[in-house]
């Protein structure tokens, strides 16, 4: 590696003396590139490792005008490096590759590369790359061409925004090191250049998080950040970059691990998740769930993971619950207290019960086994239950048991999730036939909240059932149904699912157990515990979530042993802590979702 500093010298004759950092793991190409660049009279620094490149850039931020990097590198993906350089240093980055596949080129562009060159590189192409440097600088300072170099080679002014956004150049340099030179020439600059240092970026991110990714507008972010010399355009361009970055992260991360990161980093993923909840039909979920509790669970869990980013997954979860809720609604007919429960349920929706949904369903199953009455739980819900939906749905379906789809929701869920009521009834009877423990899963989740409201649907089928369970489940369901209303901004969808599950499961339980509301409740506890461990539900995470909410929410003593609110790291909304009162449904949902996916 040769290291050269572009200090003084030709800096007044830009592009002569432009300082370039070349990164390529292929030594042949690196050498050729270096020589070509030297031929163009640039100052060249080379390294064959991306990490080293980042280190160099971080240490000597002001020493470079441009970065050229290969796409395929063993230690770090070229796009990743690209993003980092763009976000941290705002230098223009040119991608290099032997691969001319348009998809790869597109990827480079979306990641913010200034240009994409194909190997073999010709000197004519390199002779032109200085334009990217100027382009970035231009809005800032027309004098930049001579200025940067004249600033004792600091060339802070040479830092260009990496991304292709046109308005990028107006970012202000908040970093003292960077500032010096820029500020020396204020008159000639429209706006001082901004370098998004780590602290600045952190402030930015926290401001965005505070506002919510959807509602984050540059103006408000600017106000929140309260940084001098930062203009709205700077923030706007940085926000644009940031959104792209998040989107990339979320699309790439279809696994829970990524999901967790995304959740932490932002709302984008949440928003996405929340969106689709309503779409899916509970039916789907319910159906599958019942069939085979265990199997379903596993199916769903996979689905959950895979669905991290897809709202569909979430909605599926939600669906079962809606079904349940509907069932509950039916049940409601007879019971006044169910109604009450229902209301409670609705109120409880916003709480963390969402998570509980799953466990509740489990419990329901368990309870059901004890109660011949409601076998519906077992019964797979005729409506399609999407196996992909992840753990939640299965539970939900189970709980909803047969007919939950339609009636459960009752008042709570306006959601389309609910299946026809009639079906629910059928299901219920079918469910009764089953006696597997699959419902247990539901119960656990429902747990606290569901208990209270469950009875609604339960009542319908089994008049005498302690509606508590039913109400609980219906609560859950209602919660779920309400959840969507609440505007899922984060993981809303998932919670919805959970809620549904919860509701339905609880409902089932209550119905079955005529006198056994308490029993069901107890069951729930037990189930919850077991449920918590259910793999499909990202159990720990969810349990945590649920646990806190459950306990607090209804004052039910449901304790979810397995729950250890351990996974908080990714959870911005600390449901357990922050929402002891079942804060917002979204939070719960978000939490739940996170949990599931982070399995």
């Amino acid at each position: 590696m040769t290291v050269e500093q572009g200090v003084g010298g030709n800096q007044d004759q830009f592009p002569i003396g432009m300082r370039v950092l070349a990164v390529d793991d292929d030594l042949t190409c690196l050498m050729v590139l270096e020589t070509l660049l030297r031929k163009c009279q640039y100052h060249v620094t080379t390294t064959s490792q991306a990490r080293m490149a980042l280190k160099i850039l971080r240490e000597r931020r002001n020493d470079f005008d441009l970065v050229i990097s290969d796409v395929h590198m063993p230690d770090m993906d070229g796009f990743h490096l690209l993003e980092k350089v763009g976000l941290e240093m705002d230098l223009p980055v040119i991608m290099l590759s032997a691969n001319s596949d348009p998809k790869v080129v597109m990827k480079g562009i979306t990641h913010g590369a200034c240009d994409y060159l194909l190997k073999p590189i010709r000197i004519e192409e390199l002779k032109n790359i200085w334009q990217h440097v100027v382009r970035k600088k231009k809005p800032d300072n027309k004098n930049n061409v001579d200025k940067p170099h004249s600033q004792s080679g600091e060339a802070t002014s040479d830092h260009k925004l990496n991304k292709k956004r046109k308005d990028q150049n107006d970012e202000e340099d908040d970093d003292p090191d960077e500032n010096g030179n820029d500020n020396d020439d204020p008159t000639s600059q429209k706006k001082p250049r901004v370098v998004w240092s780590v602290e600045l970026h952190r402030k930015f991110v926290s401001a965005v998080n505070h506002l919510g990714i959807d509602k984050a507008v540059p103006k408000k972010i600017l106000e929140l950040m309260n940084v001098e010399k930062l203009s709205r355009e700077n923030v706007a361009s940085h926000l644009q970059k940031y959104r792209l970055y998040l989107r990339r992260i979320s699309t790439v991360a279809n696994q829970h691990a990524n999901m967790a990161a995304a959740l932490v980093s932002n709302d984008a993923s949440y928003l996405q998740m929340g969106g689709s909840l309503t779409g899916l039909g509970l039916h789907n979920i319910a159906g599958n769930g019942f069939q085979n509790g265990a199997g379903y669970r596993s199916v769903t869990s996979n689905g959950m993971l895979g669905r991290l980013n897809s709202p569909a997954g979430m909605s599926i979860h939600g669906l079962p619950s809606s079904g349940i809720v509907q069932v509950a609604a039916h049940v409601q007919g007879g019971r006044s207290h169910l109604t009450t429960n229902q209301r409670q349920f609705q109120s409880a929706i916003s709480n963390a019960n969402v998570l509980q949904g799953m466990p509740v369903s489990l419990e329901l199953n368990q309870i059901q086994s004890n109660n011949k009455g409601l076998n519906y739980i077992r019964q797979p819900i005729p409506p399609t239950v999407e196996t992909t939906t992840t753990a939640f749905p299965p539970d939900m379906s189970m709980v909803a048991g047969g007919g939950s789809n339609g009636s459960f929701v009752g008042g709570a869920s306006e959601k389309p999730l609910f299946l026809d009521h009639g079906r629910c009834n059928e299901n219920w009877s079918n469910a009764a036939a089953h006696s597997t423990g699959s419902t247990t899963l539901f119960l656990d989740h429902f747990d606290v909240s569901s208990r209270s409201s469950l009875p609604i649907h339960l009542q319908g089928t089994k008049a005498d059932l302690g509606c508590r369970v039913a109400s609980a489940s219906s609560n859950g369901a209602q919660m779920i149904s309400n959840a969507p209303q609440q505007g899922w901004d984060r993981l809303g969808a998932p919670s919805y699912n959970h809620l549904n599950n919860v509701g339905s499961s609880s409902a089932t339980l209550s119905i079955q157990d005529n006198g056994g509301v308490d029993m069901t409740n107890q069951r729930w506890d037990a189930n919850n515990a077991s449920l918590m461990r259910t793999p499909s539900f990202s159990s720990t995470t969810q349990s945590n979530f649920v646990d806190a909410s459950l306990v607090k929410h209804n004052g039910l003593s449901v304790e979810i042993p397995g729950v250890s609110i351990a996974r908080q790291s990714n959870q911005q909304h600390n449901l357990q802590t922050g929402h002891s009162n079942f804060g917002s449904l979204e939070d719960v949902a978000g939490f739940m979702v996170t949990r599931e996916w982070t399995r």
Binding site: D26, T28, C29, V32, T35, D70, A98, K119, P120, I123
Partner: protein, 229 residues
């Protein structure tokens, strides 16, 4: 000095040539090749033409140059090299007098590593479609290596090598083991041919430099060679 040193260095690197005290002089250039120190006696003196060495010396460099050009023309014609190689040659100047040979040396070194990896990866791939999964992993790595090979070969202008890499990559994308094997063999063949030819080319170049130096003992070469013209 530099020329002399680089010549030795180059020869040392090249696998095929043994270092000889005398230059390896292509038969047709015998006449002009004398006067370098250590040259075999037969090349000293008159040579076949009967002309005095000092007269012949002047033609040596030209002859070598002609040989080099002929070789290059042949390689271009065969499609072994393309204009990128010419670009590299243009980059060679006083500040980097041995640029092309250095780059090509690095290329050979890296390519041999790549070829070894490719062969071992292909050997690891199970013969047939049964283990698609494992094959997938190897094919993926093969693709990565090929990508690098393509990049480096195209950077020095090794057109045929690059084209074979393309075909190889296509075969590997389709998990076609047989196709990959054939492509690998072809790749190794092309690579060997290229390497031999480039070695030859560089030797000519070195000889030419020495010959030119010999021809003008008073210039900067004179301290390199103890040639008495």
């Amino acid at each position: 000095m530099a020329a002399h040193v680089s010549l030795c260095a180059f020869l040392a690197v090249g696998p095929q040539q043994q270092l000889q005290p005398s230059l390896h002089i292509p038969p047709q250039a015998k006449q002009g090749k004398v006067v370098v120190v250590g040259v075999e006696p037969t090349y000293l003196g008159l040579g076949k033409t009967g002309l005095p060495v000092w007269m012949l010396v002047g033609f040596g460099a030209e002859r070598l140059g002609a040989d080099m050009n002929r070789l290059l023309a042949l390689l271009f014609h065969q499609g072994v090299l393309d204009e990128q190689f010419l670009q590299l040659q243009q980059l060679q100047d006083e500040t980097s007098p041995n640029f092309v040979s250095e780059v090509v040396t690095i290329f050979f070194h890296e390519s041999e590593k790549l070829l070894t990896s490719l062969r071992s990866l292909l050997m690891m791939v199970e013969g047939d479609d049964d283990q698609d999964h494992e094959g997938g992993l190897e094919y993926g790595k093969i693709g990565v290596h090929l990508n690098q090979f393509m990049g480096s070969s195209s950077s020095i202008g090794a057109k045929r090598v690059r084209n074979v890499c393309l075909a190889f990559r296509a075969a590997s994308d389709h998990h076609n083991r047989h196709g990959c094997l054939r492509a690998l063999e072809q790749l190794e063949h092309e690579y060997c041919y290229l390497k031999n030819k480039l070695h030859e080319f560089f030797q000519l170049e070195q000889q030419k430099v020495l010959a030119a130096g010999v021809r003008y003992p008073m210039n900067h070469y004179n301290n390199n060679n103890n040639i008495n013209s």
